[in-house]
Symmetry: C2
Subunit: 236 residues, 2 copies
């Protein structure tokens, strides 16, 4: 891994715990109405519905919404599918907007970010909106060197143009950048355009249901269980 100048971090899932955030907010809103559902499963339904709207967005036409728009559409869709249409507009806004902008980050990350920044440019490179990254960084005490949101690129991961534009903004060759993520689809796409890749396991990303694609592609340059181990393997 010599010659690496920057680490680009997938942020939703890899840094932020969306599952607990959505699950708890759904449970709290449901309780207001005396409703009982499988809140963990509903949280995962929202994530799947939102990702479906975001991955490869911009491939054929300029995006007409960002991840905040996708969250709201996904929340409305999943509430309807689960017969929870009683939720008010402010409650839906809270779940779809306020909650993601305050997602907690996984506990092993805040302490290692400053260490990694001493040696590498550390950028959030994300399909989440600019504002989600700004707000969650502030809520969790994180300081990124830069936020590279696909919102500004207009082409969303895993489209190759997104990775190439991130490298262009960083003024680095893809081989000088290591993409860090807990998702093969993201890392595989980064590797396809020449990035180095580091898979960080997040077995709890989808709660007790388990991640849909938990086994790292052995082609990744680094495969670790947590961020302190990543630091050690990068010699940072």
């Amino acid at each position: 891994m010599d010659g690496i100048k920057a680490l680009t971090f997938d942020t939703g899932g890899t840094i932020l715990d969306w599952h607990t955030g959505f699950r708890n907010s759904l449970a709290a809103a449901g309780e207001t109405y005396g409703e009982t559902r499988d809140w963990a499963d509903m949280a995962n339904q929202i994530r799947r519905a939102a990702l479906k709207r975001m991955l490869n967005l911009g491939k054929d036409a300029a995006p007409s919404y960002n991840f905040d728009g996708a969250h709201r559409a996904a929340v409305d869709e999943v509430l309807a599918a689960n017969e929870m249409d009683m939720l008010s507009d402010p409650e839906r806004h809270w779940i779809a907007y306020d909650v993601p902008h305050n997602f907690k980050c996984w506990s092993d990350f805040p302490a290692v970010l400053p260490r990694l920044r001493r040696r590498f440019i550390c950028a959030s490179f994300t399909i989440l909106s600019f504002r989600i990254i700004i707000d969650t960084a502030r809520a969790n005490g994180l300081s990124w060197d830069a936020v590279i949101s696909c919102e500004a690129i207009g082409k969303y991961k895993p489209l190759p143009e997104a990775y190439l534009m991130a490298a262009h903004f960083l003024q680095l060759e893809p081989a000088q950048i290591c993409m860090v993520a807990c998702h093969n689809f993201d890392l595989d796409a980064a590797k396809a355009v020449g990035f180095k890749t580091a898979f960080v396991r997040r077995p709890d990303e989808w709660g007790s249901a388990g991640a849909p694609d938990p086994t790292p592609n052995p082609a990744h340059d680094i495969i670790v269980d947590d961020f302190p181990t990543l630091v050690a393997q990068l010699g940072a």
Copy 2:
């Protein structure tokens, strides 16, 4: 100034001291060849030539270069005009690239940025390249909440589209954002699309020559001599 959620900072000139950086590097390179020039004036010539290439860039067609490209073109142009063609390519690259990526920031800023960030989103909003902001932040120990470079917008200040896109990325109304700069042209353009504006005087920006437009437009919401005073006036 109630209701302000974010401060967007012009960065070249307002935060970074380009004049001293260019002047000293020109003097050092010239000394190698036993040359004597008015290095301070040459530094200002480079700045003027670079700005000429950047302001309003993207108005009629997509930009084909960023501020790093403009710096290199300006350095080559000014060296030629001053009969200093003897400088080698590595020396030109050092002056045009390495020096700007390591510009020092004005001494009153590093301590106030964390204070301002406690209350406001603080973003670098700049015509400088992404990488100049990333590198100068690292060199000066600054942490921005985000870097909004016109490089990613494709429309450069003072085009109104640049300010409106910055507000769009921040998900704020222009009136919820205060543009902070030492230049009327930047603040006047921000105000024209609805931003609040804060003029911070930088009498040494152009060295002993004095700034070309030093008198703040009285229409600005805040006019101060330094950043500690800005903090006080914002109640941060």
